[in-house]
Symmetry: C2
Subunit: 204 residues, 2 copies
C-alpha cells in the first residue's frame, strides 16, 4: 500500500473529524484526533487532563505567565524545564505526531500536524470549511445546543484554533495557500468530501 | 450532459488559466478567460482596449476620480452614466457572465465570476494556489522573465486581483471559505489538478 499521511485542519462544525475517521476506515489506516492525546500522554509523561486542557489552545500571555507560572518570568533554570505549559503540550504533541508518522500511513486531525510534517514527502494537507447553516445544524444536533450556543461555539473555537495555528506555524489558518486541498463539506457532503480527498491521493 | 458551471480564481503563475482550458476541453465546454472581454465588448459596446485596461483591477481612489473623472465628483446626472469607468467595466463583465452562464455549461477564469453566479445552482467555485518556486518557474518560462521580474509580477498582479475581488465581493480572495474547492497545483501538477476538479464535479 502507498504511504498516506493526511493532515486535516477544519472549521468547527465542518465535520473534519468525521471526514478523517471515515477516510481512515476506507484506507484502513489510523486516524488521530483526540486519540493523539492518549499517545502523547504515554510518550511524554504529561497528564492527559493537562493535555486536554491545553489542546489546540494558545493561552499564555505575559500576564498569564506571571500569575500562573512565576518561574517563567525570566529567573534562571533550563529553558525547556521552565517552558510555559502550553508550549510543553505543543512540543509533546509535535514529537508524538512525528513518531506516529514515521510508523506508516495515518491521518491527523488538527494539532498543526501539517506544520509538524512539513519536511516529509507523501503528506497531503487538507482543510475543511463549510457554510454557517451546515455547521450550526451539525453542532446543534451533535451537542444538543440552541442555535445561539452553536454560533457562539463556532466563533470561540475557530478563534482558538486559528490563534493556535498562526502562533506555532509560519502560515495562516484557513488561508488556501497554507494547504494542498481545501474543501467545503457543505457543498460536497461528508461522504462526498471523503471521496474527493481519496481521489486526490492518486494525483500527488 | 449535466450542467457544469465552474469558476476558477487563481494566484498568478499557478496555472489557473491552463487548468480552466484543459478542463473545458475534457468536458467539451467553453472556457472564458480573456475571451470574456470580446463577449463583454460586443454586449456592452465598451471598447475592448478599455475593458482590457481595467480588467481585474480596482483603480478608482477618490483622488483618481477627482482628477481623471471630475463628472463623478457628485455633480448631478444618472448614477449609471456617471459611474467610474472601472465600475462600468465590472458591471459590463457581470452582465456578460450572467448571460453566458444562462446559455449552459462553461468555465470562467477570474473576474469575480463566483460572486456573480452566487445565487445559481450547479456552480463549482475553485481557487488555485501554488508554491513560490512553481509559480516563478512557470512565469519565467512563459514570459521569458528573470527570477526577480517574475517575483515582482506575482506580488503586483496578486495584489491587483485580491483588491479587485475583495472590493466587489463580500468575501476574501484566497481564503478557503470563499470557495468550494482550493487546490495547490504545485502539489498535484496541472493535469492532476484538472482531474481533481473533474472528479469533484461528481459529488456536488
Amino acid at each position: 500500500m502507498s504511504n498516506h499521511i493526511i493532515t486535516i485542519g477544519r472549521e468547527v462544525g465542518s465535520g473534519g473529524r468525521e471526514i478523517g475517521e471515515r477516510l481512515a476506515r476506507e484506507l484502513n489506516i489510523e486516524c488521530y484526533d483526540r486519540k493523539l492525546l492518549e499517545h502523547t500522554a504515554k510518550e511524554s509523561g504529561l497528564c492527559e487532563e493537562v493535555l486536554e486542557h491545553h489542546d489546540e489552545k494558545k493561552r499564555s500571555s505575559f500576564l498569564y505567565s506571571l500569575v500562573m507560572e512565576p518561574h517563567n518570568a525570566g529567573f534562571g533554570g533550563s529553558p525547556y524545564a521552565e517552558m510555559p505549559i502550553d508550549q510543553k503540550v505543543f512540543l509533546a504533541q509535535y514529537n508524538t505526531i512525528k513518531k506516529l508518522a514515521e510508523q506508516g500511513s495515518c491521518i491527523f486531525v488538527g494539532r498543526c500536524a501539517d506544520y509538524v510534517l512539513a519536511q516529509q514527502d507523501h503528506v497531503l494537507n487538507v482543510f475543511i470549511t463549510a457554510n454557517k447553516d451546515f455547521k450550526v445544524k451539525r453542532l446543534m444536533e451533535q451537542y444538543n445546543l440552541t442555535e445561539k450556543k452553536a454560533m457562539d461555539l463556532i466563533v470561540k473555537k475557530d478563534r482558538e484554533r486559528s490563534s493556535y495555528y498562526n502562533y506555532y506555524t509560519s502560515q495562516k489558518w484557513g488561508n488556501a495557500k497554507s494547504y494542498d486541498l481545501c474543501i467545503d463539506s457543505s457543498k460536497f457532503g461528508i461522504d462526498g468530501t471523503v471521496q474527493v480527498i481519496k481521489n486526490a491521493l492518486n494525483y500527488r
